[in-house]
Amino acid sequence: MSTPRLVALLLACGTAHAAGPNLGQPLTHAELAAWNIHVLPDGTNLPKGTGTSAQGASVYAQKCAHCHGEAGKGAVSAALVGAPPIKSIDATKTIANFWPYPTTLFDFIRRSMPWQAPRSLSDDEVYALTAYILAQNKLIGENDVMNAETLPKVKMPNRDGFTPRFPNLMPPRSGRDL
């Protein structure tokens, strides 16, 4: 895509509705709320709520251990605890040895887990499970509270372990430093 095309589009949009079919219906923030679940690495769009590792342990035992094993040790589904060193290209990727952002953990649990019943957890339960998994991995303290303020500040060990394949295709960084 040429940058001039993007500029032209932005200019066209600045004035009035484009002369297209215009068959979409306006959507308000409130109408979107149930779907608006993307959490960004800087914490944007994290919901209200809070959870601790102790609270997460009981949710985990009830809703997660069946697939991920006792204390996140793994069963039919992947282990959630542990950080084996990355010594080969086919090394096992774990939350503690690979995942660069703590927000991804919250986002993924909320959108995709439990596998049999996603979107059934409350935001508090998602914060609690996030706290439990991070604490089991010793990435936060046992008594640390996870919420919209604290979660994005958790430093993941492999945060700087990545590089884009084609840097020229990456959009420029925004003002906010991730």
């Binding site: 297209g20 308000t28 923030h29």
Partner: protein, 424 residues
């Protein structure tokens, strides 16, 4: 008979030999065995089967099906691989298009489905499949390839598996839908927007971040696949189509596009489709499915019928544009001959290549190598191993020790006609 002289080692013939006179070629390169007397067959002596409302292939083609990695629907990803060794041409039949579903195929009532576009836009809008079908539509061919396709080739030893098992997570179709640039003209785009986060309505709510430039360049909300509605395994009633880009980013069951300043760093982009490099770092945001080709006929499982004439045929494609050249070797890369490219050759689509071959019955190693319109050349195995490494152990054929393997594939044919996968 000069035109039937080999143009490269081990019996490769000029790609234009057929165009100059196929009958003469056949006579020149094969001896005719005496035929059986012809007779009326049973199906020629009574009326045939009822004509069905929706046709299916002949019962004699039962082998032409996808292979399934998770046939019982256990709580994990399901893969269905395209049987390239049994197909010709470039358009993958819809029932044979590869599918990867992370929690089954969502069963969506189109009347209830919505596509929301919001975030850094002037006007957030929501669309139904019915309203999108009223927009000016465009059609284009495009391949879709999983970022993990061909991953068995990262094995330190060649895995003995078919081209379906090794390269079956790539397919090609004609897609029809609404260009996203059209829809974003109606929502307007905030000058701060740099990414578009796409989300599916499947139970994992799969999400991927796409640079806005790609969305405005050639992305489409695809509603039709090879002229019929997009199949459930491809995201019915609509999918994001990003021609030439990593399959997982072509979000199926598309329900939401959010324009943002930052990428989401979703599970699939920050973790799953982030291949580890030998240095221990990992690529994140690979985006492009790079130039690749492989021979589909003959390949593992192909029954060579003794020395004589064979056509070598395969598929080439590049996420960077059109295929410009495919070279084929029958002697493990010592000598090469240019294959014929079936017209039309379309950007970011499967291109069928073919070259005639006179097999002398001796050992041969068949390879293909493709070039694209940006001048990219398919790497050799040695080149990709040097850059990307190999797995620490031989993985199961269905495992993904790494991703984005696009180097040359080699099929060895031995004197009894069996075909093996080799590294050469």
């Amino acid at each position: 008979m000069e035109k039937f002289q080999p143009v490269a080692g081990n019996g490769l013939l000029d790609r234009r030999a057929f165009l100059r006179g196929g009958a003469a070629l056949a006579a020149a390169v094969t001896g005719y065995a005496r035929a059986e007397p012809l007779a009326e067959a049973p199906w020629s002596k009574e009326p045939g089967e009822l004509v069905p409302a929706y046709g299916t292939p002949s019962k004699f083609e039962k082998a032409a099906v996808r292979t399934l990695s998770n046939p019982k629907g256990e709580p994990r990803t399901s893969h269905a691989r395209t049987p390239h060794q049994l197909l010709q041409g470039t358009a993958t039949p819809n029932g044979l298009h590869f599918t990867i579903s992370h929690a089954g195929n969502a069963d969506i009532d189109p009347a209830q489905h919505r596509l929301a576009i919001h975030g850094l836009v002037k006007r957030a809008l929501v669309f139904t499949p019915e309203t999108l079908s009223r927009y000016p539509l465009v059609s284009r061919f495009a391949f879709v390839e999983c970022g993990g396709n061909s991953a068995p080739l990262f094995s330190p030893e060649p895995i003995q598996a078919t081209v379906q098992a090794i390269h079956g997570l790539a397919s090609c179709a004609e897609w029809t839908g609404v260009p996203l640039a059209t829809l974003l003209e109606e929502t307007g785009v905030d000058a701060k927007a740099k990414w578009v986060i796409a989300e599916g309505a499947d139970s994992p709510h799969l999400s991927r971040s796409v640079p806005l430039e790609k969305i405005l360049d050639d992305a489409m909300v695809a509603l039709y696949q090879n002229s019929e509605r997009v199949m459930p395994g491809q995201g019915y009633p609509m999918r994001l189509l990003l021609p030439g880009w990593e399959g997982n980013m072509n979000v199926k069951w598309l329900r939401r596009l959010e324009l943002t300043e930052q990428p989401a760093m979703s599970y699939y982009e920050s973790r799953t489709y982030a291949p580890i490099l030998p240095s221990g770092k990992a690529y994140q945001f690979y985006f492009i499915q790079e130039v690749k080709s492989f021979i589909t006929q003959p390949s593992v499982g192909f029954g060579m019928k003794g020395p004589g004439f064979y056509e070598i045929s395969g598929i080439a494609y590049s996420g960077n544009g059109r295929i410009t050249k495919v070279m084929v070797s029958a002697d493990a890369g010592k000598t090469w001959a240019e294959a014929a490219l079936q017209e039309p050759v379309m950007s970011k689509s499967f291109t069928r290549f073919r070259i005639p071959w006179q097999w002398n019955g001796g050992p041969a190693v068949l390879q293909s190598r493709a070039w694209d319109a940006l001048g990219n050349v398919q790497p050799t195995r040695a080149e990709i191993v040097a850059q990307r490494g190999v797995a620490s152990r031989v993985p199961p054929p269905t495992a993904f020790p790494s991703q984005h393997y696009n180097a040359i594939t080699s099929w060895a044919i031995d004197a009894n006609g069996s075909v093996r996968h080799v590294y050469a």
